[in-house]
């Protein structure tokens, strides 16, 4: 097996090889660390790399496997966005304010991955405090498919690391699309679960009523394996759902024949670049060839997503950062600082109007999902923007973040699970993502559709040329 093939193994395949004794966790971990050493100077996907510690953990996991341990992710090297608390390991949230912050505890998801046997490679780069703008101390993560473009945000480091074969999987957070958007730009799978399905304890918040935690992976099966390891009730997160879902990895092989999928026509039009529309419609056609029944559906409030989510994000984020904003405004990047200040000017009636509209949006999506098993539209209307594109603009039509959030923010507002999967490429070779939205707690159907789609796709294993 070539070094590149080793680095690009799926988690599922790596686990099979580990079980068969054909590869060790130390070899897997070394392959990732070697690629990080070679490529990350160009990609800037990691803030902290745990070379020696990761290798020591890998050797320990190899010993555990020899002793009969069969934990579900035993020996699999993964990465965490740098806002998940890691005991004894710096956790910056991409900020200068937390540049030297070393938590004394693990986030719940950090602990759950550790309990599942995963090996932590390092902490990935991200937009400052997950708001959408990079801090100059860390810089922007470049897109593995074209280095002059962004990996997207805010979980861009996690997406780029997975797409570049520098981690077998990763976790990100998603407040307005921060898992799905970089997943789409980097050509991988990103899952934002149902609100409350994955604990946020120990995760630096952006906006608590919109924040979600989920996996990024190269295949739907890998995303399911990661998701199953981190999902479940956590009394330490006040928003954690006590409702148990079913494991998602076990149902992936069921065909999608007969599933009903609603095509949200408006979101095939709003700001959608022609090349993105072509690739997304090709993806829809593949779903139909797989036996899914696709019909148009109208979401009355689809044009109000950005208008609704922004006052909530701004007000909640400013509430969280208020003290730092007063005492150390110079430590924020200019764009984050401006957005946080704008949050102080959100009126209570606007915050409440947004929350009220949000309830209607949730009812509307629930109603649509009584007729459909999933909804579909492009994850983003655009391909990965060029570097330095994320700035606050005086016009919404010119604001990249605004354009993006209008496509991904719906599921944050309503709490429904949503997944981005690669549906094709533009003529320029840039990946395009197709987004699926499902019923509450029904991540399994989304992962099943993505798995079947990935199996049938013409270029499931296409990799960036690095």
């Amino acid at each position: 097996m070539s070094a590149s093939d080793l680095a690009y193994l799926s988690i599922a395949r790596a686990l099979a090889l580990l079980d068969a004794g054909e590869v060790s966790s130390e070899e897997l971990t070394s392959s990732q660390l070697d690629r990080i050493a070679t490529l990350d100077e160009r990609l800037n996907a990691y803030i902290t790399v745990l070379d020696d510690r990761a290798l020591a953990d890998a050797r320990l996991s190899d010993q555990r496997r020899r002793d009969g341990d069969r934990s579900p992710l035993l020996g699999i090297p993964i990465a965490l966005k740098d806002l998940f608390a890691t005991q004894g390991i710096r956790t910056t949230a991409g900020s200068a304010i937390l540049a030297d912050h070393v938590p004394d505890h693990d986030a719940t998801v950090t602990r759950r991955l550790s309990d599942a046997g995963a090996v932590l490679l390092g902490k990935t780069n991200m937009m400052e405090f997950a708001y959408g703008y990079p801090h100059e101390n860390y810089g922007e993560t470049r897109n593995p498919w074209e280095l002059s473009r962004t990996a997207g945000g805010s979980s861009g480091g996690s997406a780029a690391a997975v797409a570049a074969g520098m981690a077998y999987g990763a976790l990100g957070s998603d407040t307005g699309g921060s898992i799905r958007s970089p997943a789409a730009y980097c050509g991988i799978v990103g899952l934002k679960p149902t609100y409350g399905r994955v604990s946020r304890h120990g995760v630096v918040p952006l906006a608590w009523s919109l924040d979600h935690v989920g996996p990024l992976a190269r295949t739907a099966r890998d995303a399911a394996l990661l998701f199953d390891a981190i999902a479940g009730h956590d009394p330490l997160d006040p928003a954690s759902s006590p409702r148990a879902g079913t494991p998602s990895a076990s149902g992936l092989d069921r065909p999608v024949d007969g599933l009903r999928i609603g095509l949200v026509e408006f979101l095939f039009e709003r700001h959608v670049q022609p090349s993105v529309r072509v690739a997304a419609l090709d993806g829809v056609a593949l779903l139909e060839r797989l036996g899914a029944v696709v019909e148009p559906v109208t979401l009355e409030h689809a044009g109000l997503v950005s208008a609704t989510i922004m006052p909530i994000v701004q007000a909640e984020a400013t509430s969280y950062h208020r003290q730092s904003l007063r005492e150390h405004p110079e430590l924020f990047s200019a764009a984050t600082r401006e957005n946080l200040r704008l949050g102080a000017a959100v009126l209570a009636i606007d915050y409440l109007a947004a929350q009220r509209l949000r309830r209607r949006m949730t009812d509307e999506v629930n109603a649509a999902l009584t007729r459909f098993d999933a909804l579909v539209f492009p994850t983003q209307p655009i391909v990965a923007p060029v570097l330095d594109a994320y700035q606050i603009a005086e016009s919404a039509d010119e604001d990249i973040l605004d354009i993006e959030i209008g496509h991904t923010g719906y599921a944050n507002l309503t709490g429904h699970p949503a997944l981005s999967m690669r549906c094709g490429f533009t003529e320029d070779g840039l990946p395009v993502g197709l987004q699926l939205t499902g019923r509450i707690l029904d991540e399994g159907t989304l992962l099943r559709i993505a798995h079947q789609f990935g199996q049938a796709s013409e270029a499931p294993s296409r990799r960036p040329d690095l």
């Binding site: 208008a307 609704t308 006052p311 401006e338 200040r341 606007d350 109007a353 606050i392 005086e394």
Partner: protein, 66 residues
Amino acid sequence: MSNDRATDDITALLHVAGLTVSDDEARQLALFHERFAGDRARLRQIALGETEPSVTFAPESEHDEP
């Protein structure tokens, strides 16, 4: 709304939150804040209009003034 008025307004709102900005920063923030004003007026009409007298929450009308 004039830019001077918008600048004064956002300076006052930030002051209430305990935040101080320079005049230049306030002018820039006022421009961005104006960008959201239309969206928020629309939200109020859609989300609050059904239970509240619409004139109370119509920011573009004379009733918006205290």
